[in-house]
Symmetry: C2
Amino acid sequence: MTVTAARLGRMTHPGTADAVPPDGLTVGGAASVVGVTVRTLHHWDEVGLARPSQRTSGGHRLYDAADVARLHRVRLYRELGVPLADIGALLSAPTDDAEDSLRRQLDQVREHIRRLERSADALDRLIEARRSGILLSPEEQVEIFGERWDPSQQLQARDRWGDSEQWAQYAERAADRSPEDWRRIMADVEALHGDLATAVREGVRPGSERANALAERHRASMSTYFDCTRSMHACLARSFVDDPGFLTFYDDIEVGLAGWLRDIVDANALAHGVDPATATWT
Amino acid sequence: MTVTAARLGRMTHPGTADAVPPDGLTVGGAASVVGVTVRTLHHWDEVGLARPSQRTSGGHRLYDAADVARLHRVRLYRELGVPLADIGALLSAPTDDAEDSLRRQLDQVREHIRRLERSADALDRLIEARRSGILLSPEEQVEIFGERWDPSQQLQARDRWGDSEQWAQYAERAADRSPEDWRRIMADVEALHGDLATAVREGVRPGSERANALAERHRASMSTYFDCTRSMHACLARSFVDDPGFLTFYDDIEVGLAGWLRDIVDANALAHGVDPATATWT
DNA sequence: CTTGAACCTCACGCCACGTGAGGGGCCACG
DNA sequence: CGTGGCCCCTCACGTGGCGTGAGGTTCAAG
């Protein structure tokens, strides 16, 4: 057990007895001596944890020196996070039981700290993911996403879509992914790109069963990042040909892939009752 | 910002859309998919944070894929300790506001951790103080309490009085004392011993004003450790002569001090209406 | 005697649900 | 077509540790 120098801000137990006049203190006085509110003393009285040993004829509470000493003890354990019910037992328990109780309390506090530390870490990752899009070092990014990958693409993406709900959703999921997760995802994506390239070489026609299946696979792939509805998918399909970045990206995989991809996505959307011509980002 | 590997236990956002049948999920289904209780979903619905977009004719809640996605997002922030009211804002806030909110949340969590760490330290000290009586290294003990001090005296004291409320009170106060505090206390104690020795040499009579003042100073000195009533004081006075340890301790300061101390304490108690012959430990 | 501060006792509010009570809906098997 | 069993519904109170009034009484000083 370490005995560090840290202590809770200097408590006042100033010769307790001296500070209490012989006829006792009223609630307000006791409250300010002990350093809690009047309502708190009322509550401790209500639940029977620390009651004044006397009342005036008019019904006002009177705390004598022993009462105030007990209030101080209660406050001490309260500041350590011990529940009121346990404090009652602690104050009248034999030493060994009290020690067990304190150890359990300490364990709970430590466990609580661990949970909060994980929350803090997760929050940190989440904030970072919302800012930068991905939580990997530049080296890892190149290793996982390949030579063609430029880390600044993420920042451009954030500038363009950062205000959408989908970016938030993407960041929330990205914050929770490890390098291994990204590797798995990229393996799937590359397999898909391979299959798309094969299909476009083999002249698979948009609207065919095979094309629709591939379009759905592509949508599922996008849904790894954020929930991609068919309507969103159709919107994305338009930018595959309109956006130079997308166009280059897909046509570098296979000549003509961008346009063909838009076509199979549109046909697939239509097959599911979504008109790609009027599709909006919902 | 550190980007550590710690993450909350692998969340399931398993192609969300796929897991939700086209006609939506009932509360029970949604609850188990999202990993919360049915009552929680009812509550989120009640407060308007996450409501199902449909109901069956019979009034049953139906969560579609988008609803379930929102539930997942709410659960994420809930696990990070964000209050429900803030989550509502977070989910529909522009990126920058959301980031501020997350940072505030992170700050609060970190502050909470600091408070808990101080509590844990204080608990640690308290447990240690209850066990060993004093939180100083043997070297410090010898330096502060002098050569005559034997650290094992504390353990004997605990064996003898460890079950009393006063030992608990002593430990609670000792847990909060620094070496400087102990030095101040010992300076006072030694001054008192000096004055007692002088008085006994000068033949001050028990019951005299000066003797009573010294007895009260001695009682105040004991009250540094625990609230020492006049009744307790009279009990202690008996052991000053009956207990070989006490006897030696005081007579080493000045021959005859132990007996004289008992006498002035008794006389002082009597002067305050406490009969030392029948005094009990209260 | 009068002020004004401090005190009294209800009693509801908070936060995020847990835990029933009492009653209705849904689906499959007979 | 009934019936059993499981799921669902809406109240509505309980939890912890008080905060925050409302409406009335007591206390000490002037």
